[in-house]
Amino acid sequence: MSLTATDIRNLCLASLVFAICALLPLGDQGYWLGLGVTIAMFTALATSWALFSGPTHYISLATAAFFGVGTYVTGLGIDTLPFWSLVGLAGVIGAVLAALVGLATLRLSGVYFVIFTLGLAELVRQVITWVQNNSGQKGLYVLTDLDEAGIYWWLLGLSAAVFLTGWLIGRSRLGFALRIIGDDETVAAHSGINTARAKVLLFMVPGAVAAMTGAILAPRYVYIEPSLAFAPILSFQVVIMALLGGASRLWGPVLGVIPFTFLLEAVSSNFPNQTTLVIGVAFLVIVYLLPGGFVGLMGRINRHLNTREGA
């Protein structure tokens, strides 16, 4: 399909927003840049998560598994390979891992899929711990000359790539197939859609992105070990942020990422022990008050205004 005037305007607008965001390290190299890295990281993770979970309604808690695999790709390869190739390699490994997980589990529905993906991160972490114990090694040092600004630009670029991918998928037959699957899987199959293949293909996107995010962030940790790289809390944060913003639109998750990052930042600096509590409360608020996230809320307000105008 060709580009309409609206498409071109949106593309220009998005490029402009990313260009402005890219200027952040020139203004501040400390606190704000640190927040910028966190926001860019969660934007990539939550947006790619919603690409799959938004249309299919499968809640994946596998983010930490892919992320951890990515950090280890950088950790193991940083002395022999250039950084950019490690990011690409992590993406390929993440996508392949996601395809394997998808083939094994996407036949499972609902809660079984959730539990499997949660277990996956734990499984990979245990395997790596076991390998490390046997090899006598405890963790990995990641020493590079990549500074905070460099990491920020990498993550920003990755986020832009995620948005572009999501936009292209949304216009493609695959995107249309996923909307049909999300509405009614029986109808999808009887319309000629290979539902299993479509779901596996799409699940590879968040897998690859999470692994690449991990690979990019590894230098920031300097020292990586399994409990840090595969922290399950990451998977939950991504889900909560994406749902808070709204998983039904491409730009939805970022609306959750920004306020939630500030909230977590404020809580962890003032009440460092209550972070988990905040995540729990946020989850309840979303479930009870904001079922469609901010996107859903905006939709409801819009409809409300329209009916009042019509009346």
């Binding site: 399909m1 037959r173 249309f176 197939a177 909307r179 049909i180 999300g182 509405d183 009614d184 029986t186 109808v187 999808a188 199959a189 009887h190 319309s191 000629g192 859609i193 290979n194 539902t195």
Partner: protein, 243 residues
């Protein structure tokens, strides 16, 4: 008779101890409209589900133009040109009327995408009597209109065989006449159709041939007049006293 479009041989479906469909044999020729009749629970819808691939067969086989389609997943059977509606209308709630029809056009037997698919959907909406309603939400439709949307989606991939599962059920008398006229127009286009139906008027005016089932087994086959006067069929519907 030349090679039938669709043929069922020994088609059987067991749910645990219950035999829902028992050794069904019948053929459907090209451009033929075959009615699948029988009392409630006789296995008509299950037979349709076995043909469309919604359920796997326990034994027997179904073939399309002589090549076996039973055992294939539903999406492959659809791509080979067998398209269906559902007993309880199934539409895609997040999409408008036109998108619901496009959904049938993109991945099926004959594939379209982009402007071609949108135009095709609009043509089909005109044909089923929903011209100009493409932008409407599903919630704004009457019951017969939801059935029309589903029919248009089913037609959107130019299927060779159309399976209609009680498409006329639940319509009021006026809508029923509209519905019969609509299916008649499909018949006049020369489509091959199997319809599961209870409405006798429709069966008489639409079907070339009928297959009657009772308790999962075929009990009669022939023209509508033949089967509706068959003693076995009357007994199945009304009980022994009236036969």
């Amino acid at each position: 008779m030349s090679t039938p479009v669709l043929s069922l041989r020994g088609v059987t479906k067991r749910f645990g101890g219950l035999v829902a469909v028992n050794a069904m044999d019948f053929d459907v020729a090209e451009r033929e409209v075959v009615g699948l009749l029988g009392p409630n629970g006789s296995g008509k819808s299950t037979t349709l589900n076995l043909i469309s691939g919604a359920l796997p067969l326990t034994s027997g086989h179904v073939s399309l133009w002589g090549s076996r389609i039973s055992g294939l997943p539903a999406q492959t059977i659809t791509r080979k040109g067998v398209s269906r509606t559902f007993q309880l209308v199934r539409l895609l709630p997040s999409m408008n009327v036109r998108e619901n029809v496009v959904a049938g056009a993109v991945f099926g037997h004959r594939r379209r995408w982009g402007q071609d698919a949108w135009d095709h959907a609009d043509q089909l909406l005109d044909k089923v009597g929903l011209g100009g309603k493409g932008d409407m939400a599903l919630g704004q439709l009457t019951y017969i209109d939801t059935k029309r949307v589903e029919l248009a989606r089913t037609l959107a991939s130019d299927p060779k065989v159309l399976l209609l599962d009680e498409w006329l059920a639940g319509l009021n008398p006026t809508e029923l006449q509209i519905g019969i006229t609509l299916i008649k127009s499909l018949r006049d286009e020369g489509r091959t159709i199997i319809l599961v139906e209870h409405v006798m008027d429709a069966i008489r005016s639409l079907c070339d041939r009928c297959v009657v089932m009772a308790s999962g087994t075929k009990i009669a086959e022939g023209t509508p007049t033949q089967v509706l006067s068959d003693k076995e069929v009357i007994r199945a519907y009304l009980g022994d006293d009236d036969a």
